[in-house]
């Protein structure tokens, strides 16, 4: 199997907690050759950990076959451009690609670009997707519930992340009003991830009916086709986590449960409750992050464009939600 050289441009907590773990578990496919970050101290320490060379921010090592872009969101589209200009065959960008859907749409046109939405790539979700879409057509309700602890707590539980003094990745993310950092993080992280799941299941064009934010979370109602989609998010104050995508209809109830974000080694699980009983499935030893990297490996070698991720549409919908365009506060 061809081993691809990886350049890392942006050592965010997701890079350190999730991507390096995924890359480390796929040594037959990848080796990290360069590390860059806006904070030189962080870049140096992560480079030392990985045994890779340290590069200036946005500078991709010559010979990098693929690049991970994970810096502050406003800089990501530019970093993607530079990575391709530098010769990368494929680029994996952390989500969101941009706060601006027009920028995201323009950038998504790049051949070989994959936006990392770990749940969308989760092998359990993908394996169940065809049946999920069938059930969605006759569902009476789709419900998405996301209660996660703040990212810093999760990262701290996974790895010893090198702290940075540079601006956070989500600094400046649009919100309808001043919001606690956890709420901004919740919207531009898990909610965006969940919007991608809804689109994956129901197709494009979900309509925003209303959205509300409360102290520690949000409540969003969409209509996807004829199916109401009720989404609730909450920044949990404890280690207790719940992340579930449910389809309910006469005679069936499908529940897809996702692991807490960033955790390596835990895939989603799918449970179907029906007259035939309950059937549970769970891919073993695979995660959305590993699956995304495997897909990137295919894309880089085949030269084929990745499946359209269309995250631009999700970003546009999220902007309507966080800015209260319709029915919000």
């Amino acid at each position: 199997m061809s081993k691809l050289a990886v350049g890392i441009d942006g050592c965010s907590p997701a890079t350190q907690a999730a991507h390096l773990a995924a890359l480390g578990s796929l040594p037959e496919m990848f080796r990290v050759v360069s590390v860059a970050d806006d904070d030189p101290t962080v870049a140096r320490e992560v480079a030392q950990r990985t045994g890779a060379g340290e590069r200036a921010p946005g500078e991709v090592a010559p010979g990098a076959d693929v690049v991970l872009v994970a810096g502050p969101v406003p800089t990501r589209a530019g970093r993607v451009e530079r990575a391709f200009a530098g010769g990368a065959r494929a680029v994996l960008s952390e989500s969101p690609l941009s706060f601006d859907s027009r920028v995201a749409k323009r950038t998504e046109g790049k051949r070989g670009l994959l936006v990392c939405l770990a749940h969308l790539h989760d092998p359990a979700w993908q394996a169940a997707l065809e049946r999920t879409r069938e059930l969605a057509r006759r569902a009476a309700l789709c419900r998405v519930t996301t209660a996660v602890e703040p990212l810093a707590g999760i990262v701290a539980g996974i790895t010893q992340a090198v702290e940075t003094k540079r601006p956070g990745d989500l600094d400046g993310a649009p919100m309808r009003r001043p919001a606690a950092p956890g709420l901004r993080e919740l919207a531009w992280g898990p909610l965006l991830e969940d919007l991608a799941l809804v689109r994956s299941c129901f197709g494009a064009g979900a309509e925003l009916l209303h959205s509300r934010f409360y102290r520690d979370g949000y409540e969003v109602m969409l209509r996807a086709g004829s199916v109401p989609v009720h989404m609730t998010g909450h920044t949990s104050g404890t280690r207790r986590t719940e992340w579930a995508f449910e389809l309910l209809g006469p005679g069936h109830h499908r529940v897809v449960r996702f692991p807490p974000p960033l955790l390596p080694g835990r895939p989603a699980t799918v449970a179907d409750h029906s007259a035939a009983g309950t059937v549970r499935s769970e891919p073993v030893y695979e995660t959305g992050y590993r699956a995304a990297w495997k897909r990137l490996h295919e894309v880089a070698l085949s030269g084929a464009p990745p499946e359209a991720s269309s995250s631009a549409e999700d970003i546009e919908l999220l902007r309507m939600i966080v800015e209260g365009v319709e029915g919000g506060d």
Partner: protein
Amino acid sequence: MISSAGVHGRLGVGVIGCGQAAQAIHLPALASLQELFRPAVFYDPVAPLAETVARRASGRPAASVEELLADPAVDVVLLCSPNDLHPDHAVAAIDAGKKGVLCEKPLASSAEGAQRVAAASRRRGVPVIVGTMHRHDPALHALASQWGDLPERASWIRACAHLSPNPVMVSFATEPVPPTPLPEPAGGGPSLAGAAMLRGLMLGLAIHQVPLVRMAMPAFDAVEVAIAPGLMYQVSLRQGERLAQLTAVVYEFVRNDWSFELWGPGASARFDYGASYLQAQSSTGELWQDGNGLAARRAFTSAHENGYRQEWRHLAAVVRGEEEPLTGAADAAEDIAFCERIAAAAGAGWGEAP
């Protein structure tokens, strides 16, 4: 009037309404509490049903509510009659000098009706216990004793009712006597839609969870409601920066999830209601607390007890003056008024903002 067994012996129970709730819920509970109660007299407008159920329970049928209430063998009254009749029957039992009433939920189909019962209960000093059984569940009490001020601090309150239809649960719980259908009203039954449908769902199902929701969020500034054909509703209440959700889905093959949750800073709690009608299933509570860098999760169970038995035990203790009533008709009236305020905001269907 108190029977000779009366206060210090077994309490004679008069049962008004001999349908599924009486057969599947209360008679099994009473059968397991023979040291406290003795089912005595049964009334149902369908006389053969009352006769059959009375025979099973070694009691006697009565030809009318008045006859039942006049029987000195009846110390306390169980009301399993239609909701609309609960207030009249409860007040009649109180006025007949009975020592206590256990009324199936809801206490009335309107707050006004419940207030009438509350006034009678207060006037005569007769306790009225409403059969929202989980409120009496030992697991809930154990959980609540440990959650401190979490109900006030929680920013997200979630009450979920994903349940199988009642006939499925009843069939698990007992072998019910097939009901004899009452004659249809002229022109057929009412067709419920919108607010009327939601009102029925609130009083029929959500009423179980409203006491806990109301404890955490006594009032709300805004409400959004969506309902769908079948037993499905989604209610969102907001009070300042807090959110409370009540959801229901009733399908035959739904994964049962009847729960109440509080999510707050530093702690969260979940109470899983035992399935309705089933005597053997205990409720469970869980409490997550973070502190000193540690995340702790504690679980509470009812062991071999359940809310149905406990509400009967509680009634006996209150009648004997051993306990103060945990709740009363006035609380139930507040619960119903809470439901009525929600129902008034009913939308036209799923996803329709009112």
